[in-house]
């Protein structure tokens, strides 16, 4: 196949990717959109095999079969709660591949050309840097989400300084290599340093900030792919890499906005690190000595069963307790009694953007019942009960009123405006931000302690016998 024909096919692939992403704008067409993008991918891969640069095929086929097998099994087996880990791993694979492609291109240039050309050199170095940071960073993110490393932020004295020095060393090495003042040896050191940087950069970030990290790493791998495209002068790599880069950047921005924290604070603030601050703000001090009201299952069942509108506020605790199916069962029961049920989903309710929606969709909650922050907040006033399941910081009114609170300014779900608030929680332990939640002490609020799944199953039984 001639290079022109291959190039043309790559353009068609790029168009299919864009059309596929466009179809993702509605749940009705989304599945087709993914299929469209998949066809684009198949086309790009098929014509690549016809490229004359390829001298031997057996190794390529072996690697393709092996990789596809691993990917397919992983995709089929993964539980929806573990989706952030899965995406982190796939993301790391892509980043690793981009870094390796860049490294091999560089090795090729070292062997065949007298000097490193500036344009190829810069794109290769960028692809290698971003790709390896994404690779090792994604693995650390996976380990944190999976609980291998512990969810808390890992900090040590001088951490920022170490990372900064490492970054400077990496940039110096990159300049030396591109300006032909250093050879393959320096390039290998550069690669290793990039991998270390990825690990060190993600370590100080806590579990609750993972939606930002995953979005950012996603964008990194996209950009690394685009950089590889520059090195190989390959249009489909540039377009698709850039699309992903744009998507990841946008999601990163949305997640930061949802927490009202600048990206620098998420990445370098080590939020959710040590224990809660010793110095408690005035408002929090006022809470000490206040008591919470404990509810019985029967009380709550009566409130739910004789209400008109119940708004469920799910948080990550719901996913941990695997209570999503039980919640849907409860909602079905309430709907049978004529109670309307809506779900209020905070953007950072899960461990990646939109995670909670997927978990509820898996439990067969119709997506029409899922509302985001801006849609649902005006409705809380009308709600008879706000049922808070395993959520904490995202319903803390301190975000609206207490300027000394670390979460001040974060957009929250207005659960406190409902007529009654029922909070399902294991204990009074604070959430990710490590602060007290005055909502629990609200006179309209009641706590139902225990495992979310058990409590909800009990509620189902109690509502049934009303």
């Amino acid at each position: 196949m001639s290079p022109t024909a291959i190039h043309a096919a790559y353009i068609v692939s790029s168009i299919l990717f864009i059309v596929g992403l466009k179809q993702l704008s509605s749940p009705k067409t989304a599945r087709n959109g993914n299929l469209t993008a998949g066809v684009g991918m198949l086309l790009a891969l098929a014509v690549t095999l016809l490229d004359r640069q390829i001298l031997s095929f057996p190794l390529i086929f072996a690697a393709l079969v092996l990789g596809s097998g691993v990917g397919a099994v992983a995709a089929r087996r993964v539980a929806m709660t573990d989706m952030p880990q899965m995406v982190a791993l796939f993301n790391g694979s892509g980043g690793g591949a981009a870094a390796l492609v860049s490294a091999l291109e560089m090795a090729h240039i070292f062997r065949t050309e007298p000097r490193v050309p500036a344009d190829a050199g810069v794109s290769i170095v960028l692809g290698a840097l971003i790709g390896s940071v994404s690779f090792s960073g994604s693995i650390v993110a996976w380990a944190k989400l999976q609980g291998v490393l512990g969810e808390r932020a890992t900090t040590y004295p001088g951490q920022k300084l170490v990372n900064l020095l490492l970054l400077i060393a990496i940039l110096v090495l990159a300049v030396l290599v591109v300006s032909n003042h250093a050879g393959l040896g320096a390039f290998v050191v550069f690669l290793v340093a990039c991998l270390v940087l990825g690990v060190l950069a993600v370590l100080p970030i806590g579990g609750g900030d993972m939606p930002v990290v995953i979005s950012l790493l996603n964008s990194f791998t996209g950009l690394a792919t685009a950089a590889t495209g520059f090195a190989l002068h390959n249009v489909v790599l540039i377009i698709s890499g850039t699309l992903v880069g744009a998507s990841g950047t946008l999601l990163t921005y949305l997640m930061c906005k949802a927490m009202n924290r600048p990206i620098t604070n998420v990445l370098f603030g080590a939020f959710g690190g040590g224990p809660a601050k010793a110095a408690v703000g005035g408002r929090e001090a006022a809470l000490q000595g206040a008591t919470v009201r404990e509810a019985t299952v029967e009380d709550v069942a009566t409130m739910l069963g004789y209400g008109q509108l119940v708004i469920v506020v799910p948080g990550y605790g719901l996913a941990v307790a695997q209570a999503q199916h039980a919640v849907r069962e409860l909602a079905d029961m309430l709907k049978k009694r004529g109670v309307s049920v809506k779900y209020a989903i905070h953007p950072v309710a899960g461990r990646m953007p939109g995670h909670m929606n997927v978990l509820l969709a898996e439990a067969n909650v119709p997506y029409e019942e899922l509302y985001d922050l801006d849609q649902i907040n005006p409705e809380f006033e009308r709600a008879d009960v706000a049922l808070v399941v395993g959520a904490n910081d995202v319903v803390n009114p301190a975000a609206r009123t207490d300027t000394s609170s670390p979460i001040y300014g974060m957009p929250i779900l207005d659960a406190d405006k409902a007529k009654h608030i029922v909070i399902l929680k294991r204990s009074m332990k604070p959430g990710f931000a490590g602060i007290e939640n005055e909502l629990f002490y609200d006179p309209k609020a009641m706590m139902l302690f225990g495992d979310a799944k058990e409590s909800i199953s009990k509620l189902v039984v109690a509502v049934k016998s009303l």
Binding site: S26, G67, S68, R76, F90, S93, V101, I238, P353
Partner: protein, 97 residues
Amino acid sequence: MIDALLTDLTVFALAIFVGYEVISKVPVILHTPLMSGTNAIHGIVLVGAMLVLGAADSPITRVLGFVAVFLGAVNVVGGFLVTDRMLHMFVPKRENK
């Protein structure tokens, strides 16, 4: 050489805007599938991996190229399948009666 670079940069700049336009229309409830779908799309780096492995001419470059193709294939196949699995759950269900 400079011409090729300029063409690449043009494509890059336009793709940023197309990406922003298309992605900003995706509703919040589909953000996880969006992320895993774009995740699969950046698996396109597999094209580059196949090219470098196909041209590899020493044991070490073959090994590294093999790993690159393997990782790329995991990314592509896993990404598309898992996205499909998720989106399947968002398809409106008919009443089973």
